[in-house]
């Protein structure tokens, strides 16, 4: 079913145009990369602040609370560009092992947010009051760094590795 959908969506007029365009596609990819720099840089700074490595002269709550909204806009831009590129080559992505790994990691990011939102990300002011970053916040930061670095590397992998069609089609049950 997902494969059928992927084949259908990439054959719509819009995505057919996108796939064949000489300039629109690289422009979208460039915007994707730009948003990675903006959004990724802010994630790095937030996590490094929790680890006590960067922006230590500023309160942790300042870094986390003030970067929250810009990070959301950045993520929106990354995701929008990503979905546009995905749609134009949906069938190829469907078979691509790196793309699947990237989806799994993105899912784990959502799980990470669910787990740590209450105990870490909404309690930055508390860390500033006590003057100490607890272990669970550092764990959250390390996991966040690993997940996002993994996602960026998987994204780079998508562009390189030719999908071994036969084998992967059998592994993918949907």
């Amino acid at each position: 079913m997902i494969l059928r959908f992927a084949q259908w969506i990439q054959l719509t007029d819009f995505f057919t145009y996108l796939r064949g365009s000489s300039y629109t596609y690289p422009v979208i990819l460039s915007l994707h990369m730009t948003a990675i720099a903006l959004f990724g840089g802010m994630i790095l700074m937030t996590d490094l602040r929790l680890l006590g490595l960067a922006m230590t002269s500023r309160p942790a709550s300042h870094v986390m609370d003030q970067l929250r909204v810009p990070k959301r806009f950045g993520f929106l831009l990354v995701a929008t560009c990503g979905i546009l590129m995905l749609g134009s080559k949906a069938e190829e992505y469907y078979y691509n092992a790196f793309f699947r790994a990237k989806l799994v990691l993105l899912l784990l990011v959502a799980v990470h947010a669910l787990i740590f939102r209450g105990s870490v990300y909404n309690r930055a002011a508390e860390f500033d009051r006590t003057g100490q970053i607890p272990g669970r916040a550092k764990l959250a930061a390390v996991l966040s760094l690993l997940l996002w670095i993994g996602i960026a590397c998987m994204g780079r992998g998508i562009g390189y590795i030719e999908p071994p069609w036969g084998i992967q089609a059998r592994l993918w049950p949907f």
Binding site: M33, L44, M45, P70
Partner: protein, 170 residues
């Protein structure tokens, strides 16, 4: 989107690549290039990302409770580290297929804007940020963001302009 051209392609005016005795060990494994690219991307996310935090502050977006100079002091070494990582891996990437890059107009433009962006960052930009410029701050931030945007676009278009090599340039 492999941004490498054909390795060992003959280019008029350059020695025949096949007769050259030195081979670049970076081309020995197909994994080296994408791994270097990942580090390149991490370096540029760190540098451009930290610069953008300061630029957005100059524009009144994001970390408004700190002053631009406070943010600059806190991100200075991370920005520098990111730029170093980016340039170092960039040089290694370039060495994998120098004549392709040399002949690629997007690469030339990228280098032009990169040079401009770095010089601007450590001169005019730094001066404006450290003085917490209220007046010209917004213009400086826009120029800085625009220059880095051009660098990113140049980098992406290197991989899409392989087929339009400007042979006449040699």
């Amino acid at each position: 989107m492999d941004s490498r051209g054909p390795i060992g392609q003959n280019v008029p005016g350059l020695p025949n690549a096949h007769s050259m005795p030195i081979t670049n060990p970076l081309n020995a494994s197909p994994l080296v290039f994408p791994v270097l690219e990942c580090i390149h991307i991490a370096g540029f996310a760190l540098s451009v990302g930290t610069i953008a935090i300061v630029d957005f502050r100059l524009l009144g977006i994001g970390m408004r409770r700190e002053t631009p100079s406070q943010l600059d002091r806190d991100t200075f070494y991370w920005t520098l580290g990111g730029i170093s990582l980016m340039v170092f891996t960039g040089l290694l990437l370039f060495s994998s297929d120098p004549d392709m890059y040399y002949l690629n107009i997007a690469f030339d433009l990228k280098m032009f804007f990169l040079l401009l962006a770095i010089v601007f960052h450590y001169t005019i930009h730094r001066k404006a940020v450290r003085s917490d410029a209220a007046g010209g701050g917004k213009l400086v931030a826009c120029v800085s963001l625009a220059l880095w945007l051009c660098v990113v676009f140049g980098g992406i278009f290197i991989g899409f302009l392989n087929s339009t090599l400007d042979i006449d340039k040699v």
